[in-house]
Amino acid sequence: MTDLIAVQKIKKVFRKDPSQELLVLDDINFAVHEGEIVALLGRSGSGKSTLLRIIAGLIKPSEGQIFYRGEPIFGPVPGITMVFQHFALMPWLTVLQNVELGLEALGVSRKERRQRALKALDNIGLDGFESAFPKELSGGMRQRVGIARALVVNPDVLLMDEPFSALDVLTADNLRGDLLDLWAKEENAKNGILLVTHNIEEAIFLADRVVILDGSPGIIRDQLEVKLPHPRDEQSAEFRRLVDHVYTLMTTETVEEAAQVIDLGYRFPDASVSELSGLIERIAEEQVEHEDKPVDLPKIADEFSLDVDDLLPLTEVLDILHFAQEAGGDIKLTAAGKHFAEADILDRKKIFAKHLLEYVPLVKFIHTELTKSYNQRISKKSILDALEDYLSESDAERILKIVIEWGRYAELFAYDDKTGELNMENPE
């Protein structure tokens, strides 16, 4: 049996100019077998959407090769279709015309096209919406059209790019169920689905196998078979155990990560001060209730309906700032973290400032530069220049923005967007 899709030694480097290279994917190998649903799970920035687009033939890999039924591919091929995160429906075509689009490209006759499209719409429960325009439909209905459009060409492989993440929780649940029902039909027995998601529960609910991508550059952290029978009960003990297991896999540092020094060019994830303090407060409450035991991360995620995408960046920053320690899918506040949770607004700022100076080299750097400069002003550009050795331009911009927010909150320095200058004075 040949694999539907084989991903071999894929590497992707984004290059802005010759001096700046950003490795987003490194040495990716995996396969999608016939009749299998595979979920690619990863945090934002792990390169999972890029990987999906490489498999789709929309982006060329820097190295490596994608095989479709044993043949190398170099662009989109018939047999592989895609469902998009934001639907990508043509707003000027009716629902029916949108579904017919793929068939038009295949040169199917007008009559047959119509019949097949109507049947596909019927199957996904869109009977009666044929002549509506996408803008008249709700998000869930639009994604149904997206799925019908992809399925009507009878693909061997259905690629799905976070198909449910733009929908509200109830709609997404409902649509996931319908997708599985549709997939269970006999004619699809030999086809495969490759789904990109950052939602652990979604991955475990849908997939036969979960491929966990991690880090930047993205590498495959682990692969996990899910052998539960469909329909799966999200509350069952077995299901929860798997969720916990994936959390642990995703939060445990690898040997390389543990060895990584937090230097000037450390790639901090997006985490705002208000989110950080909110999370500290919540963990503190939980610890008070449960006699200072470590708190289960999946529980927090569930409670706030946060994806790993939202939660893990926050826990990572708390860890770096020594406000909390994470291990094995759990998190626990340090003494400083607890102190922060109990403090009032002004004290919090002081604690935050102290930790920033101690544990974030970039803040320390900015602070030193400011004290050194004769009028206590430096331009943002000079800092970006200093970061140039470590980071790509866009990354440097992004990280500096986060760090400036932290510094402003901690009242370590002020920033004037108009002049692009950092200074130590209080703003007028």
Binding site: P72, P76, A88, P91, W92, A105, L106, R114
Partner: protein, 577 residues
């Protein structure tokens, strides 16, 4: 929601209703008129013949017909130009690097200049036929329309949403299918809007295009433009009144028959519905929707379009399926050759131009023309500021009152479409009568036509301000100047800049007909670059024409790059809500 396509077998049961008859009559009438007008164009003509233009009102409908016909032929040509070059520029970066700057310059060249260059060529192409001058006139109208349609279309093609591109790649639409299913529909609202703008612009220059008075030629093509020209020559106020009335009627007619329906139709191409805003309506669309025949005509048309769009689709699919993309070794050579050719042509043209201009002209004259350019610039800047002082408060006042805005918005747009040069004679009479200073009092004419862009952009900007912000402003009791400074002006800034850019563009072009105006044997001339170009074009003094045009291009380009681009950037970065 009923599915309409399943009514195939109903054609047999079709019975016409009253509305079918009405629409049929309408269509036949239009067809007959067009055929008649087109027949007249190819009549024999020899250079030097004088075509009699009668000021009698009974000829006006025929003149109006021929003018309209010319405009639509030019419009069709512009559309073709837009589709071909627009896609080429958007898809091929090597072509893009050349085409975009060229269009940027071409659009700052005044319409009259094109006429003076092309009229000779066209007359030589069609000797002994009126087709020569006709083509020259149509070409002049085309140059008034094409550039902004091209730029709008090109912008749209560059901005096709990324996921739609990916979707069409994923489903492997051919380039032809992609063009008609994705790119043209995406550009449609902007294309229609720009087409309307273009029509207004061509009305503005209709007299200059039809009454060809360049290179000492004097050809009057039958049409409204010539009618007005002759009326001005004979100082016939009544005739001018009739001409204005006729134009009003024509503009109203094609607005109702063509653009309204198109706008209503183009609503479906917009990605999101504008909630709360009233949807545009159209009498014609409502009429067509009541007819049965036209429903079937629509069906036939859609089958036909389907056939065209999907022609040969899928036949090549098997081949591209798994092929490794090949890079021809020739490609880089062709690209290099292309750039080398471009470079050499640039050098050659520059040398030629400099030699040509300075063979007959002195540096002294160049400096003089530069001075004239400065005068014109000053005029435009002052007038623009004055217009803003007047129209910003008015626009804001209207914009804050949704009911008034609904009435005022179409009126302002209509004024923008109305050729303001028709009002010139009135100004001339006043200036003449009260012996006013020509340099000052002809100036308002420059901005007469384009001031409306400022007004309706301000109205649009004010209506677009979020309600919450307005409530906040009221809540904090922002008053008077503070209210303007902190709320309204920053809020409408992007719209104001857009309006001002459009208005200035129109103003530059208008200087040529506004700085020198005629009434009978009286000619009033202000000193400015526009008047200079108009004068030298009339006598066919090519070196000076070239000098004048080059100077205007330079001024416009400098103005755009030093003033508008930075302001536009600022508006995009800081004031976008």
């Amino acid at each position: 929601m009923k599915l309409r396509i399943w009514r195939n077998n109903q054609l047999a049961a079709w019975k016409p209703n009253v509305w079918d008859v009405v629409v049929l009559l309408l269509v036949f009438a239009i067809l007959v008129l067009l055929a008649h007008g087109a027949g007249q164009m190819a009549t024999p003509y020899r250079l030097g013949d004088r075509l009699p233009i009668s000021l009698s009102t009974k000829y006006l409908p025929a003149y109006a017909l021929r003018t309209t016909l010319r405009m639509f032929i030019a419009l069709f040509a512009s559309l073709l130009f837009t589709f071909l070059l627009g896609s080429l520029a958007a898809k091929n970066k090597h072509a893009e690097r050349i085409i975009i700057p060229i269009i940027d310059i071409l659009q700052s060249i005044p319409v009259l200049a094109y006429l003076s260059i092309t009229v000779v060529v066209f007359i030589a192409l069609f000797p002994n036929s009126l087709l020569g001058p006709e083509c020259a006139a149509i070409f002049a109208i085309f140059t008034g329309q094409a550039w902004n349609m091209f730029l709008g279309f090109y912008q749209c093609l560059k901005n096709v949403p990324h996921d739609l591109r990916e979707a069409s790649a994923m489903f492997q639409l051919s380039a032809w299918q992609k063009f008609w299913r994705v790119e043209v529909p995406f550009a449609m609202p902007s294309l229609i809007w720009n087409t309307m703008m273009s029509m207004s612009a061509s009305w503005f220059f209709i007299t200059a295009s039809e009454a060809i008075a360049v290179n000492n030629q004097n050809i009057l093509l039958p049409g409204i433009g010539s009618y007005i020209g002759v009326a001005i020559m004979h100082m016939n106020k009544a005739a001018i009144g009739y001409a204005i009335l006729t134009m009003l009627i024509i503009i109203l007619l094609y607005d109702q028959l063509l653009f309204r329906p198109l706008i209503v139709w183009s609503e479906k191409f917009k990605a999101e519905e504008n909630e709360g805003k009233q949807k545009p309506g159209s009498l014609i669309i409502s009429l067509l929707r009541r007819t049965r025949l036209f429903y079937y005509v629509g069906q036939v048309f859609s089958i036909f379009a389907d056939g065209v769009i999907n022609y040969r689709a899928g036949k090549k699919l098997a081949k591209i399926k798994l092929a490794r993309p090949k890079k021809s070794k020739l490609t880089p050579i062709i690209i290099y050759a292309w750039y080398i050719i471009v470079l050499f042509s640039c050098l050659a043209i520059t040398t030629f131009l400099i030699r040509y201009i300075f063979k007959t002209l002195t540096l002294h004259e160049t400096l003089y023309v530069m001075k004239l350019g400065c005068y014109t610039t000053i005029r435009i800047v002052i007038l623009l500021s004055l217009c803003m002082v007047v129209w910003v408060p008015v626009g804001v006042w209207i914009g804050l009152r949704p009911r008034v805005a609904q009435i005022a918005q179409p009126i302002a747009q209509f004024f923008a479409a109305f050729p303001a040069n028709l009002l010139f004679p009135i100004v001339v009479i006043i200036i003449f009568k009260y012996k006013l200073n020509v340099n000052i009092w002809t100036s308002p004419l420059i901005i007469l036509g384009s001031q409306w862009y400022i007004l309706f952009n301000v109205i649009a900007g004010t209506t677009a301000l979020p309600k919450e912000l307005m409530q906040v402003a009221t809540n904090f009791g922002l008053k008077k100047w503070l209210w303007w400074k902190r709320f309204i002006l920053p809020g409408i800034f992007p719209y104001l800049v857009t309006g001002a850019i459009t208005a200035t563009g129109g103003a530059w072009n208008a200087t040529i007909i506004a700085e020198i105006v005629h009434w009978g044997s009286t000619t009033l001339k202000a000193s400015g670059l526009g008047a200079y170009i108009a004068e030298v074009t009339a006598t066919g003094d090519f070196p000076r024409v070239a000098l004048g045009i080059a100077m205007m291009c330079i001024f416009v380009l400098i103005f755009n790059h030093l003033v508008w681009r930075p302001l536009y950037k600022l508006a995009e970065e800081r004031f976008q809500i």
